[in-house]
Subunit: 342 residues, 2 copies
Amino acid sequence: MRREAVSRVRQQAQLATLALVVAATAPAQTDPLPSWNDGPAKTAILTFVRETTTPGGATFVRPEARVVTFDQDGTLWVEHPVYTQVMYILDRVPDVVAKKPELKDVEPFKTVLSGDHAAIAKLTMPDLEKIAAATLAGMTVDQFYAEVKKWLATAKHPRWMRPYTELVYQPMLEALRYLRANGYKTFIVTGGGQDFVRVYADQVYGVPPEQVVGTAGETKFSYDKHGRPILTKEAKVMLDDNNAGKPEGIHLVIGRQPFAAFGNSTGDRQMLEYTGTGSGRRLMMLVLHDDAQREYAYGPAEGLPDSKVGTFTQQLYDEAEANGWFVISMKRDWKRIFPFDP
Amino acid sequence: MRREAVSRVRQQAQLATLALVVAATAPAQTDPLPSWNDGPAKTAILTFVRETTTPGGATFVRPEARVVTFDQDGTLWVEHPVYTQVMYILDRVPDVVAKKPELKDVEPFKTVLSGDHAAIAKLTMPDLEKIAAATLAGMTVDQFYAEVKKWLATAKHPRWMRPYTELVYQPMLEALRYLRANGYKTFIVTGGGQDFVRVYADQVYGVPPEQVVGTAGETKFSYDKHGRPILTKEAKVMLDDNNAGKPEGIHLVIGRQPFAAFGNSTGDRQMLEYTGTGSGRRLMMLVLHDDAQREYAYGPAEGLPDSKVGTFTQQLYDEAEANGWFVISMKRDWKRIFPFDP
């Protein structure tokens, strides 16, 4: 850790101590963030909520304006070894090829069907997008929702052998609930598919479909052979909700800057920058995966292993330091990782 | 009126009578829709709310799923003689030409600058879109919001000589409030500009920016010369929120079918059809402008004068009859039109 970083951590520790002193003099109440260890990250969330919801305060935010955004993959749930939606897409390939046998000998479908794990792991984003487009184009929105729901009910994460929807971070569920209890509307702003995440976001995170912003393809309104209106998914991407696409997607769907934004990778950088330009009190936080034992460790920031999935560069870490964003260390800041942890 | 229409009106009158009998036996309470005359339209709204919010009922809708959509122009506020946003765009032309003098001799800018009302009235939608693109491209989102706010504060409707934001329909304001009081999330789904409507929707209709779906252009995230993140409006249309674009826009931003939809023109047809395909109890309503004395009269449905703005065809009227959609007659169903009416 470089000198400025050390000094910043010291400052944060002092703030944390101050908050504990303040808390000790206040009447006893239930801890809204019980899975967070005491420290700068937990204090930052508590302080942000207090300062933006105390009537008459200089940084009070009227309830109607309280908007916060959360990235999903790696911020709310596990994204390693690969994004959950990629697992879904790969699992769909045999079905797609059964309907369009001509794809059998075409890349990247051929590689997926080969079952060669090493080759599959090397598929690029454009490869995966090509597969995604083939797996959903022509489906009605309702068929897609039903298909994802069915898959989620049976698919299991290879490490924990549990449904993906159980691999959500308990501390973040508490943050979502705590913010909502204080009048904040919680939005997911994900690089993942908007319709994919909508299927389970309400049940898993308490976030309704209209509060999920994600990568979105076009849909086409038409009539089926019985003259009944249908909406069909098209292969064309309308919003690529990554990097600069995140603030653009926030503007498209939400129309105003969030007061707080949570992310974990370089794909969230612009969302946090955009949130930070707002006036008054704003909170920007990044989850650092530095706990190989309980979850995963990857960066490459802070000497952690490099990763293609959920890359957290040293440049992003430095920008966080420079801008007063808080880095959440999974290892240090989280008492529990998953709801099923003891 | 044709035979089926007469029989439908008779049915609606019977339902209305039944509702009045039911209402008479219930404890006295304040009328939530005081600007509506008793009749099938008012009864339809009251019945819909009762049937979807009574716990244990067969058509009960859980509070988290309660979504309703309202068109804006001609449904929530006046759209004649021309759409308010068109007035805004025309008023912006001198400013735009001052910054880009080369446009002075180029159509359609030349016509707008001529002040020739007859020629201006003949501008086509593509002409207006060309002007709109020129007036907003390159502005930051914040500049655009500020510009529209400034214009709305001084611009006045030529007939009533009042700000456009006062020319909203009191009965619809009551319907919005009544639905919200019963747990419904109210969305605007407008062919107008999403960012334009967002400027005043919260204050005028109680609809926050994230519940406004409208025609939307792309935005571009970048940094200004001080390195500060900015969002700039681009000339490219991303969502044309008219006709089939309405259900497509509803899917993009809301992600599920509304339980009720209100419109007034052929541009709302697909939104109402889409709403009607949902299971359980749904409510579809269309405002018919048949009151030249208090507002305007146009169709051409039911022998009303034809209109380029807010066209309500006989075909749409017949589809409404056939599908059990309710037509709201301004003349017959609305006791008051505007909040400032005595």
